[in-house]
Subunit: 433 residues, 2 copies
């Protein structure tokens, strides 16, 4: 960990790898996942159970989480968790409620006698993959399910990897149950995605699958979606943060927030761009002195070594330009007039403004969504929102008078495009009897 | 062509194939396209030109369409075409202008001291594939480029297959030039998609690729998008229509509109659901008597044979249920109180209401978009719109007082999810000095 000038960094050998982050899914996973997907498509539950045994070492009799399991989970979780869950869910609901006017139809009449309008329709059945296994992520349940409910999805199915003893983390079950999700299945990885995509005897086929996962999950989502039979959310990779700071920033906050992203995984990324060399040096010193206090310290060190960057910039404008090119999942602005700087950020998943807007606040509690585009894909993708769970259906109505006004246009285009019935289907409506 | 009762049809051997339509992309294309994509990624223009020669039989010196070519096109197209182009473009602009309030930020404050808002940001650089070759599709230029311009995309690149003589159809060039698109490249199929995805010496790398194409184009889009390096629009297959008619419908209109979809290609689909057996029989008779009048008649006959359906229903409700399950690209309602029936259609690309709203009107002139989901994917995808060219960037700002209110929630979730620095990054902001 050392501070480098951003301009110099751009010419360094490390530049490409830092910009690319972890990079892409391992192609070696592809063949394995192809087989799993085909098997589950053809064999249903039998194949799902087979892979839960061979890959996850679990003999599951029932894939569906039972009422008893949910009741047990309710009795196990702490009161503190239930309070936190309710606050988080409430804030997420408030923030996501405002995203779409589902009733708005925006009727336009470009010419008298012609009306065109659109209407949002919910995707009827959606599948949510909640990562699990060794750790548990009840926050993921909230981030995916609440927007789907606001969109009006009729059926929401959760699949999540069970723990080694075959049970699901109680916090995940309590969160799902609190939101009223009835269909929860204990299935891991690629077999879960295939089951959702094609349906099995016990798992309903869904129209869209959302939720983050490992390379197997990401690859399976890509495979099942490539023929358009099921939609998926945008691709998600390791967590990443870029912090823009000036000399007014608190180095302890900056150090904590860089480590906060790095602790997710060894391939997470954390970038500091500072107008103050002194600040950057103090941040590094604080990280060195505190990182081993955390059980995740080794992950932090490895991720900073591989994908970390501590750089100085001459101006905040230079930092903004780099940030828009890097297109980070999370960006934190810890400078004077932070909100004015934030307005210049166009390529990012979520923009955290000011010293008290730490990433963990957005991850859990502000009501913002934490499923965000990574690896630079913020240039073309959005974070998860209510828009992921709706479709825009088009409606149009033309009167005879309206059709008369565009009849020539139809005729001209149909001739250019060599589609004579297209011309005729306009003309037949004016045929003399 | 014969009329069958819809209920009986559901038990027939043809049911599955009609519901599935043409089905999916040929897997044999995959290997060929994989090679093209890798070659273009590695070799740039050299590979593009190589494939234009080996696959399309063209030796192109310049991939970019020159000013001279555009000027020549301007002098060749008819005045009628220019008038039609302007009317179509104007209507498309009027309809699409209303789709998003790009300025709206919908700021929400779920708790005092916490603010969350979202802002639409345009995708900066987009690529538009305009199909071509033997036929030409200037309407495709309008449907893709105008929504991108309304979204605020800074750079729009068009690639389109040249005609056998190496030129581009003048109507396509005039349409692109009328909209102010400067970068037009003569490239076909998979090599065009790869060039847009990765960039070459002459073709800029884009962040999203839209526009319909053949199986090579569709497969290439799938391949380049699977790692999240470039986004694509929703998958597009052969054109299809489902018409719901009662005895009040004009059989000549219905016959023309069924043939209008079928003339696109041999694998297009056309379905008639009628409460009147007499109407259905008259429609079939009219088709038989008129189909050979059209140069596209053979395509119509083949597509109706493979994917056509003429069925009677007991009630319009039965037709609506089937339609929502079939999820057609285009649906036409030619019944009494058509608008009330249309309200019940939730799964469709575009809903055409009443006897004068023919599909060709929507294809060319009403201002609606004609790039629509096919093959049942209207259950999860939208037609092309301004939303395809924007991203929703999230912003959040928390004060010290706001953070205090959610501090416990952050702590509880961070502990459950075993991310200690997440807890610490909240706590460090309240550390006593």
């Amino acid at each position: 960990m050392q501070v480098i000038k951003l301009k110099q960094f751009k010419n360094s050998s490390r530049f490409q790898s830092v910009m690319a982050r972890r990079g892409k899914n391992d192609n070696s996973v592809l063949k394995v996942v192809e087989d799993i997907v085909v098997d589950v498509k053809n064999m249903g539950d039998v194949a799902v159970k087979k892979y839960m045994k061979s890959l996850n070492g679990m003999c599951l009799r029932n894939l569906r989480v039972s009422k008893e399991e949910i009741n047990k989970a309710q009795s196990v979780v702490s009161d503190d968790f239930v309070i936190a869950l309710k606050q988080a869910a409430n804030n997420i609901r408030l923030v996501h409620n405002k995203q779409i006017s589902l009733e708005a139809q925006s009727l336009v009449s470009p010419l008298c006698g012609i009306k065109v309008w659109k209407k949002w329709q919910p995707i009827e059945i959606v599948g949510v993959y909640v990562p699990g296994g060794l750790a548990s992520y009840p926050s993921s349940v909230l981030m995916s399910v609440i927007p789907a409910q606001i969109a009006g999805c009729k059926k929401i199915i959760i699949t999540t990897p069970p723990r080694p003893d075959g049970s699901v983390a109680p916090e995940v079950l309590v969160a799902a149950n609190y939101l009223g999700v009835k269909d929860i299945f204990k299935i891991s990885g690629a077999q879960a995605i295939a089951a959702l995509a094609y349906g099995t005897e016990t798992i309903p086929k869904v129209y869209k699958i959302v939720g983050p996962g490992n390379a197997y999950v990401a690859t399976a989502k890509m495979i099942v979606s490539r023929q358009g039979e099921v939609a998926i959310d945008s691709p998600a990779g390791p967590s990443e943060v870029l912090i823009i700071a000036d000399k007014t920033a608190n180095p302890e906050f900056v150090a904590a927030d860089l480590m906060c992203d790095s602790e997710h995984a060894e391939d997470s990324a954390a970038v500091l761009l500072s107008t103050s060399l002194q600040l950057a040096r103090r941040v590094i010193k604080i990280i060195k002195n505190t990182v081993d206090n955390f059980s995740t310290g080794n992950r932090v060190k490895k991720s900073l070594k591989s994908y970390g960057l501590f750089a100085t910039v001459k101006t905040l404008g230079e930092a903004v330009d780099f940030a828009n090119d890097y297109a980070p999942e999370h960006i934190q602005i810890m400078t004077k007039r932070a909100r004015a700087i934030a307005k210049k950020i166009t390529n990012a998943g979520s923009v955290f403004i000011g010293p008290y807007t730490c990433k963990s606040a957005g991850d859990y509690a502000t009501g913002a969504n934490h499923v965000l585009p990574t690896g630079g894909s913020a240039k073309m993708f959005s974070g998860l929102s209510v828009f992921d769970f709706v479709r825009l259906v088009e409606y149009q109505q033309v009167s005879k008078g309206g059709l008369k006004k565009i009849r020539r246009t139809i005729q001209v285009f149909a001739r250019v495009e060599k589609l004579p019935v297209h011309e005729f289907s306009g003309a037949v409506r004016f045929k003399e009897k």
